[in-house]
Symmetry: C2
Subunit: 567 residues, 2 copies
């Protein structure tokens, strides 16, 4: 990966640049973060001319190590007002890596009155008119695959992103071409939309095979890694069988399952939306259903799934825990078919299911709809699809929806909706929501696997503080976080395999140091953007309102929270 | 003024406290600011339990010096997220002063399911059920005056504040009992609303006469002050005759009159909404009309007016320049009757006309309505009155309305709408909008009277920097800013008269030092609240989009702006 592609939409120019020395050891989240700090006016309007979007594979992008080709996208978030990185599996990062593209910088905004898409292959990079603008991601992807063949990878936004909705994410295609691997958080789909870019088509056909620094050693170590992944009870057992939905049983048990706009913490129908039931439904229905699906080539964990309807026809893929928590229990919807349908609608609009689930939860809480009304929730997404006034409000996410509706119970941190862990039940993750440069983000330092009392405030700041750089390591290597239960204790091996792949000599300790440095880069951007430790806190209703079953409030002290970024 | 009244609405308790030594030399804005810094969690939710509202007369409150009894209210603003003080003339500050009340602190929030009002007289202070909740300010005031007689002063909010609309202000009554002297900015009406407080009734009947430190010397110096005010061409000539509307001629000439959502800078119908035309209409219609009206007892400037309809019946009082600019030219409405009608509707709902004018301007710009459609604008206010979804959006002010409608042209600084000076035409005021702890606020340091080229960026930071503490002096003394053209050059005399009134020995230089210190208090609160110099800037469209006639953009550099609060 020896080049950076810069697309200036204001000028309509595309340039290829060598990778500066300072970016060589960076990838994924650490690279998008550094480029944004170096190039983006931190005080700029996120949905304005001065913001940029940076796509980057991780350091291991394109390698055949399991789960190593996640795609990162970074920019200034229209939800948090700070720096944001979102990442997903799928095929686009691998395709960029094969073409030697270490980063793709999208800057300026198109003066044209129509959307464009970017076409990238071995020989050319071009902006082309996007006649599929206005279409949902499923039909837009279909059209692009018909044109460019199924070797292509797609990155695209839906109507939500086109319209600048702050709940909009960016998606990319999986191994079978589904446009449903979402870089969902932070509203970065809206940033792509206001720039006038509908999609990126990457066709790696004809690219030379990637030149491994030491392919033989890599193959050896990879075998060891696969063994570690397969032998670990989580990555080799729970995830392949039940997928992320397995988490619902656990969060429900510890009163951390978002329920009815984060008012309950556990859900009476949890056993109808958890991993075991999901597994039962998929296997009993058969047809297109699949409980063990890989979102990117070569993944041995295969936590993903294909969820079929009663006739065995694919309804949505994947159906993930975060969606189940936010669009299921959080809306008091205890039926996986309903959740799958809402998931599909969000996907097609290009909206983040976490942000939209939280938003609809707030709307239900304010009486716009009854909790549990799945048809009503679908109708709200219909309003979003039709861009009615109500749809425009909801499309801006939970914070603006809550302000408009006069809610005092808006489950956000730094303006971004909380994922499916009520921070009163998993307080370490609450610390991460409050203090991560990313806002409320469960992938920025999840503490749920720590063997502690998750409602005891005392150990949580330290737990979150340790989890945040570990998440960063995964994010800059392009690794799925789910390898961490198996490989997180073997950072030296991760360093070795990185060297074997790309020649970057790095020890486990150096990986940690690099992660700390990348976090500092993000904090520095946020500091310059005007975010400060004063905003490192959770909504007051979570500090004041005990969860009814556990009696727990979020009581990690503001001083403790503030300290984390004042270090 | 020897006591502080503390009303805790959570507990339903009212306590009377002596004035701590550290607050003795403070008043109005400097006192509300210091109490808020001392008592309010800076990271709190402005519309939550932890915010407080502090009412305070200035140091000269209750004295018979002209224009010296403005009422300040402070709190954390739901628009800016920072500290806010708003002030107005009227009678409430005088009434509080007569009762010896230096500050009235409203804290907590009522657990009751009905609104209350606070009754204050010489003998008792009580919370009483507000059966006039839900009523507009005009009918609510009428009911309270019927009950308590016309010696009472009222502070109250409208339905906008009750519903927590961020565009809501707080009003108080003038000499004739009109509830139209608005402490309009910052959304502090919403803070009062969420606390469950509809009104404050202050009856000073029976209070002992205020004990002047040296009444005789005060009387002497007052004569001199009156002479200065009457001889000054602005305070003795322009203001009494034309009122603030005189400003329209000037801003139109220098391309600073907000026109069609801040897109033009001058308005083809300016001569139908300026001071001379207003004067002509009022005098030719006669009846209740009055061009020279005092908003508080003893004011010799009398810049206020009573605007009559064609039959001579009072339509609204006052009709001020800021309303004319924001609800007139900014909406392309060139008819004073239309503007007066919109003004009355806003007043009755308890909404800030600046915020609502800017909001409707954004809505028109986004195609919700045609520019110039006065009936349409009134219909939008009807939506607000009826609390429809559109009304709920508009009631949140220009920033949220603009975000929902996808606007890229939102004229706000720190979330608060700009008053009637386009900062591309008066760049010094643009510096104030960007850098004042108050957000976009023309009363926080207006540079329009400086004899410079207002489009030359070079001198503006220094001009704004000098104007900000002068505004603070007026605001902590309780003085109307309009005395400053005549008295601003006589700070020593202002210090003397202060000593003669309340015994506080203070020189002109010490007044300036006290103002700087009060500004530092505000900055410190904002720093702790997470606002930083990174937010000290104006919207990008004002940096990028030249006004068509003048070609001017807001080009004071970000570095220059940042320096002001980094000092």
């Amino acid at each position: 990966m020896d080049k950076i592609i810069r697309v200036n939409l204001s000028e309509g120019t595309i340039t290829t640049e060598p990778v500066p020395e300072k970016y060589r050891a960076l990838g994924g989240r650490s690279l998008t973060g550094k480029i944004i700090l170096d190039e983006v006016d931190p005080g700029c309007e996120p949905l304005g001319l001065r913001n940029k979007l940076v796509f980057a594979p991780g350091l291991l992008g394109g390698s055949f190590l399991s789960s190593s080709s996640r795609l990162s996208v970074g920019g200034k978030s229209p939800l948090t007002g700070g720096i944001k990185e979102a990442n997903a599996g799928g095929t686009a990062a691998g395709a960029l890596s094969k073409l030697g593209i270490k980063a793709l910088i999208i800057e300026g905004e198109s003066p044209l009155d129509y959307f464009q898409y970017l076409y990238v292959d071995q020989e050319k990079i071009e902006l082309r008119p996007a006649e599929m603008a206005g279409q949902g991601v499923y039909s837009a992807a279909k059209l692009l695959f018909e044109r460019y063949g199924d070797k292509a990878s797609l990155i695209l936004i839906g109507p939500g992103g086109e319209r600048g909705y702050r709940a909009a994410g960016i998606t990319n295609t999986d191994v079978q071409g589904r446009p449903s691997r979402f870089l969902g958080r932070g509203g970065l789909g809206a940033v792509m939309g206001v720039k006038g870019l509908k999609a990126i088509v990457i066709d790696p056909t004809g690219a030379e095979a990637i030149d491994y620094h030491d392919r033989k050693a890599f193959q050896e170590l990879n075998k060891e890694m696969v063994k570690l992944l397969k032998e670990n009870p989580v990555t080799g057992g729970v995830y392949p069988k039940y997928g992320t939905a397995a988490m619902a049983t656990r969060t429900n048990a510890i009163h951390a399952l978002p329920t009815r706009n984060f008012s309950a913490g556990s859900f009476e129908c949890a056993n109808r939306i958890d991993g075991e039931y999901l597994h039962y439904i998929i296997t009993s229905r058969g047809g297109a259903g699949d409980t063990t699906h890989a979102c990117m080539p070569g993944c041995v964990i295969k936590c993903s799934n294909i969820y079929p309807d009663a006739e065995g026809k694919e309804l949505v893929a994947p159906l993930e825990y975060e969606t189940i928590g936010l669009m299921g229990s959080n809306l008091s919807i205890g039926n996986l078919d309903d959740i799958a349908r809402l998931n599909y609608l969000c996907n097609d609009l290009g909206l983040d299911t976490i942000e939209m689930g939280a938003t609809i939860g707030v709307a239900m809480d304010q009486g716009l709809l009854t909790f549990g009304d799945a048809d009503g929730a679908a109708a709200l997404l219909g309003e979003v699809a039709e861009d009615t006034l109500l749809g425009k409000v909801l499309g801006q996410g939970a914070l603006i929806t809550g302000k408009v509706l006069g809610s005092r119970r808006i489950p956000v941190a730094k303006g971004q909706s909380m994922p499916a862990y009520d921070p009163r039940g998993v307080k370490g993750l609450g610390v991460t929501y409050a203090t991560s440069p990313m806002g409320a983000d469960h992938t920025a330092g999840n503490t749920i696997r720590a063997e502690v009392d998750h409602t005891d405030p005392a150990p949580q700041p330290a737990l979150s503080r340790r989890a945040q750089p570990l998440a960063m390591i995964a994010d800059f290597m392009g690794l799925c976080l789910f390898v961490m239960p198996a490989l997180g204790a073997h950072l030296d091996k991760l360093g070795q395999i990185c060297e074997q792949y790309c020649g970057l000599k790095i020890s486990g300790d150096e990986l940690l140091a690099a992660a700390e440095k990348a976090l500092q880069v993000e904090r520095e951007f946020n500091r310059r953007a005007g975010l400060s430790p004063a905003q490192d806190r959770l909504p007051e209703f979570m500090m004041d309102e005990p969860l009814p079953v556990s009696g727990s409030v979020f009581d990690v002290s503001l001083d403790e929270l503030r300290k984390i970024n004042e270090e």
